[in-house]
């Protein structure tokens, strides 16, 4: 018997492959509908697995312990499916308006989501790498999908070269770990690490470092952050959203699994590095974000800062299930909602040039709804109270203080303070100017509804109380993030 996730994996794969086969015969509209239905049907189908904490190995006879399906991966899979479905819905007009989006683009989106699902389930270094490459390679192509625009091709070039370059380091790290421990499975590796002294683990440690470098690159952490601004900028908006909002989360899912199940006992060795990385990621991202003029570049730069916050949480983890580990999960949820929303609003603006602070002036008077939604997402990204972004920061800073990393929490608060400037500047330019904005917007009612749903979630999960028992609120989300960590 197949269990639910296997059905979903096969289903998405089958749909993608049949789309490839029929790609020449299908119109974009049909392919769009099919991929949307695939993603949302899988999401609804998997919802029935929510509830009890569970952990099962997928097809143990075939894959041994390479793939694991537990509550932890379920949460991430649900996030990927939901957010990619939302992404397609929000950017519908964008996709149909820009001629370079073809049936193939949708296939690549499906493949990348498939890779991310696999990534969050992977329980083996090599499977993790293959899943990572499936997702990355689809995204490399998507970045360069606009082959007539020089910027887009250049972003493709940069991302592909840097990505495969860093991929080689992952493989080297994997090989070193394998040569010493004779295994690539997370479970066996954890056994190996816990039964050996640090002196016998040199290659495992160095290998872990190399693997960490690649993963840091993918989440655009210091010192591998410089690429992300250009590439996020060069890519079409929905793809930027896919990279910054969804792909980053899938990387964090594998980082969390690898870190929590294997490298947690070597934490003291890696901690100084992670702390340094988080400090410089936050600072570098802040400086980049301040100096940007285009909103898209600003959001790209600020996503670097958010990686920095997540690294604070990573460095504060002491044991599985302590407050730091679930604050990280909570922040990921908060971040995916706000970044999906903010980039979604941007992708609903029909403009040839980049949307800048200057061109946003007076936007509130031409499109009050989108301006309001944008403001809500800005507030959430800035960590303003009454939004989910605030609670995320609140949990992360408190867990940092709990692990006696108070200076890091103070630095985090300082970067949050800097971020107030560039996020509030967006609100200020939308509202504080009387002149009529020249920006046109797509008016697709479905996209508006999705944007509204996301902003409602941002606010409701920020202040929603468990007082209304029939609607899960903030508290339930927090408890849920704690419980899924325990399923690892």
């Amino acid at each position: 018997m197949l269990n639910n996730i296997e059905i979903v994996l096969l289903f998405i794969l089958a749909i993608s492959i049949s789309l490839v086969v029929f790609s020449t015969k299908l119109s974009l509209q049909k392919a769009y509908n099919i991929s949307l239905i695939t993603l949302s049907a899988s999401f609804v189908f998997l919802l029935q697995d929510l509830g009890e904490i569970f952990s099962t190995l997928i097809q143990k006879d075939i894959f041994n312990s390479m793939l694991i399906y537990d509550s932890f991966s379920l949460l991430f899979i649900l996030i990927f499916l939901l957010s990619s479905a939302f992404l397609l819905l929000i950017s519908k007009e964008y996709i149909f308006d820009h001629k370079y989006f073809k049936v193939e683009s949708l296939i690549f989106i499906l493949f990348s989501v498939w890779g991310m699902i696999l990534l969050s389930m992977s329980n083996d270094l090599i499977v993790a790498f293959i899943a990572l490459e499936i997702a990355s390679m689809s995204i490399y192509v998507l970045v360069g999908i606009n082959k007539h625009k020089l910027k887009s091709s250049e972003a493709f070039f940069k991302y592909l070269v840097l990505g495969s370059f860093m991929g080689a380091f992952y493989l080297l790290g994997l090989t070193l770990v394998f040569i010493q421990s004779g295994t690539t499975s997370f479970i066996d590796l954890a056994k190996y690490i816990s039964t050996h002294e640090i002196e016998q683990l040199y290659l495992v440690i160095v290998g872990g470092l190399l693997i960490m470098a690649t993963l840091m690159f993918k989440i655009s952490a210091f010192p591998f952050y410089a690429w992300s601004l250009d590439i996020y900028d060069g890519a079409p908006l929905p793809i930027t959203s896919l990279m910054a909002g969804i792909f980053k989360i899938s990387i964090f899912s594998v980082i969390l699994r690898l870190f929590l199940s294997d490298y947690i006992s070597l934490k003291d060795l890696y901690d100084p590095l992670i702390i340094l990385a988080s400090i410089f990621t936050m600072l570098a991202g802040s400086f980049l974000a301040i100096s940007q003029d285009s909103i898209k570049r600003m959001l790209a730069a600020s996503s670097i800062v958010h990686s920095g916050y997540l690294l604070i949480a990573l460095s504060s983890i002491a044991t599985i299930g302590d407050s730091a580990s679930y604050s990280l999960v909570f922040y990921l949820i908060a971040y995916f909602l706000s970044s999906l929303g903010s980039l979604g609003v941007l992708s609903m603006i029909n403009s040839k040039d980049d949307v800048t602070y200057e061109s946003l002036k007076g936007f509130a008077s031409t499109n009050p709804f989108l301006a309001l939604m944008m403001s809500i997402f800005m507030l959430s990204l800035a960590g303003f109270p009454s939004s989910i972004g605030f609670l995320g920061k609140f949990y992360i800073f408190s867990s940092a203080i709990e692990s006696s990393l108070t200076p890091l929490a103070i630095l985090g608060a300082l970067t949050a303070f800097i971020s107030i400037y560039y996020y509030f500047k967006v609100i200020a330019s939308m509202y504080f100017h009387k002149n009529i904005s020249v920006l046109l917007t797509y008016s697709n009612i479905k996209s508006y509804i999705i944007i509204f749903i996301i902003s409602f979630l941002v606010l409701y999960l920020g202040i929603g109380s468990s007082y209304f028992t029939y609607l899960p609120g903030t508290n339930d989300l927090t408890e849920f993030s704690k419980s899924i960590i325990n399923s690892l």
């Binding site: 507030l379 303003f384 109270p385 009454s386 609140f394 800073f397 408190s398 203080i401 709990e402 108070t406 929490a409 103070i410 608060a413 300082l414 949050a416 303070f417 107030i420 400037y421 509030f424 500047k425 200020a428 509202y431 504080f432 100017h433 202040i463 109380s465 468990s466 007082y467 903030t474 508290n475 927090t478 408890e479 704690k482």
Partner: protein, 485 residues
């Protein structure tokens, strides 16, 4: 329950009015209606308030039980005076400025009322922080959209300045609750329970400073006042009244509630420093006020100067001065609200609030002159106004504490009387200029209640003071115990 209604009705009404894009007349009428409704509820609450030190009209509902965060609100003697002022002043301001035709201004004033009310009644640090921050947003929009001059810049400056303080407070709050959790094994944000946290002396000072930064910026005290003049100059009148009459008092209130509630011993230990700072900034702001010629600036600085006096009274912390503080919060809120309304009226008719170009009003507008003089003098506390009683109480308290403090405080009050007389003279008297339209019935409708309230609090202060006496005694006993040790 009644308090929750008072907190959320304005907010919900504001959101409703925004979403339904109501017409201006409907908006104005409904804003006023909501505010009058809140005011009547507040009077009801005031009547039912028992003169005792315990928390009343309490409600406590779990919000994020996982982190021990509760929706815990209640009213006691500490918050009573400001609570009444928020509820009473807002409708009066709305009546006085009823001709303002901006929908956003009215909606934001409703939302900010919710924010202030919430911060005032919150008994849970997280809830307090939530309201403390959210009330910033309406002010941000009010200044940025409806302000004057370089409004975008000053609105950003004000917001960023204030949020800087708030983030310092956030770190302090987190440090505090984590220390509590480490010692007691569970999270709580309850102000009363957090008193039991054991901290080293150094930690206490750092946490104290974190909180003090946030509150000091909001009041403001020297040297965090650099946002004050610009913000007041570029703000619309409603925002100025809210900032000066209500939000700055909220800073004082927060010191009273949180610093003296949780860190009583460290606050008393640092009291002499804060008192010296308060006295210095009192004199400094008075000097700044004397040197300004813009009426808005003058009263911004003079109100900051009086707030420093309240701060001094608060940190002297004996029962006389605390009574004075409670009364002064109310009376100063009334007087500043009234005087800024007067300035707005003046600006509407003369298009100028520059001291040098004013004058000659008394001949054509006796009623206006009477009210202007009365409110200006009530700020410095002439007899029969509430300012008088409260200043006397604070000065008595400060002489109890130390004669030097008492002497400096008295001198600066006397100096400010002389200076206010000068302002009145320059504004109202002098050679008759063009005709000045006297006060209209609509304006009188809001100014007469303000004047009556000031007089009532000045002539019968005991009706109010007896309500807060038990709370004040409770607080001052702790300081007596501290000094005895």
């Amino acid at each position: 329950m009644i308090l929750s209604v008072m907190i959320f009705t304005p907010f919900l009404a504001g959101v409703f009015l925004y979403l339904f894009r109501a017409k201006i007349n409907f908006v104005k009428a409904s804003v006023l209606l909501v505010q009058v409704f809140i005011a009547s509820l507040a009077i009801d609450v005031y009547m039912g308030f028992e003169p005792s030190a315990i928390l009343q009209f309490e409600s406590n509902i779990p919000w994020i039980p996982f982190y021990g965060i509760n929706y815990h609100i209640g009213l006691d003697g500490v918050s009573l005076s400001l609570f009444m002022m928020v509820a009473l002043i807002m409708p009066l301001v709305s009546i006085a400025l009823y001709d303002r035709a901006f929908v956003g201004l009215w909606i934001n004033s409703l939302i900010v009322q919710s924010g202030i009310m919430g911060a005032l009644l919150a008994q849970d640090l997280m809830l307090f922080y939530l309201f403390w921050e959210t009330m910033l947003l309406p002010i941000f929009f009010m200044i940025g959209i409806y302000g004057y001059g370089k409004k975008e810049f000053f609105s950003m400056k004000f917001t960023i300045y204030t949020i800087f303080g708030s983030l310092a407070m956030l770190i302090s709050i987190l440090y505090l609750i984590i220390s509590f959790k480490v010692q007691h094994g569970f999270y709580t944000f309850d102000i009363v329970s957090l008193k039991d946290t054991i901290l080293t002396h150094q930690e206490q000072i750092f946490i104290f400073l974190g909180f003090a930064l946030a509150f000091g910026i909001k009041i403001p005290i020297f040297p965090f006042h650099t946002w004050l003049a610009d913000t007041y100059k570029s703000s619309p009148t409603i925002a100025i009244v809210i900032l000066s009459a209500l939000m700055s008092k909220l800073g004082i209130y927060a010191i009273y509630r949180i610093l003296f509630g949780i860190f009583a011993s460290i606050s008393l230990e640092l009291a002499h420093l804060v008192i010296s700072l308060g006295l210095a900034s009192m004199l400094y702001f008075a000097l700044l006020a004397i040197n300004s010629i813009d009426l808005k600036k003058i009263f911004a600085y003079s109100s900051a100067s009086h707030l420093s006096l309240i701060l001094v009274g608060l940190f002297i912390h004996n029962s006389t001065s605390l009574l004075g503080v409670s009364l002064f919060i109310a009376s100063h809120a009334l007087s500043t609200a009234a005087i800024f309304i007067m300035i707005a009226i003046l600006y509407n008719r003369r298009e100028s609030i520059n001291l040098d170009s004013l004058g000659g009003i008394v001949q054509s507008a006796p009623l206006f002159s009477l009210f202007f003089a009365f409110f200006a003098l009530s700020i410095v506390g002439i007899p029969f106004t509430s300012g008088f009683v409260s200043e006397i109480l604070i000065i008595l308290g400060s002489f109890e504490y130390s004669s030097i403090v008492g002497f400096v405080a008295t001198t600066s009050i006397l100096a400010s009387i002389v200076f206010i007389l000068n302002v009145i003279k320059k504004t109202l008297f002098g050679k008759k200029q063009e005709d000045f339209k006297d006060l209209q019935s609509k304006e009188l409708l809001s100014l007469i209640p303000l004047a009556l309230l000031i007089l009532a609090l000045g002539i019968f202060p005991n009706t109010f003071l007896s309500k807060v006496k038990p709370t004040v005694d409770n607080y001052s006993n702790s300081s007596k115990a501290h000094y005895a040790k």
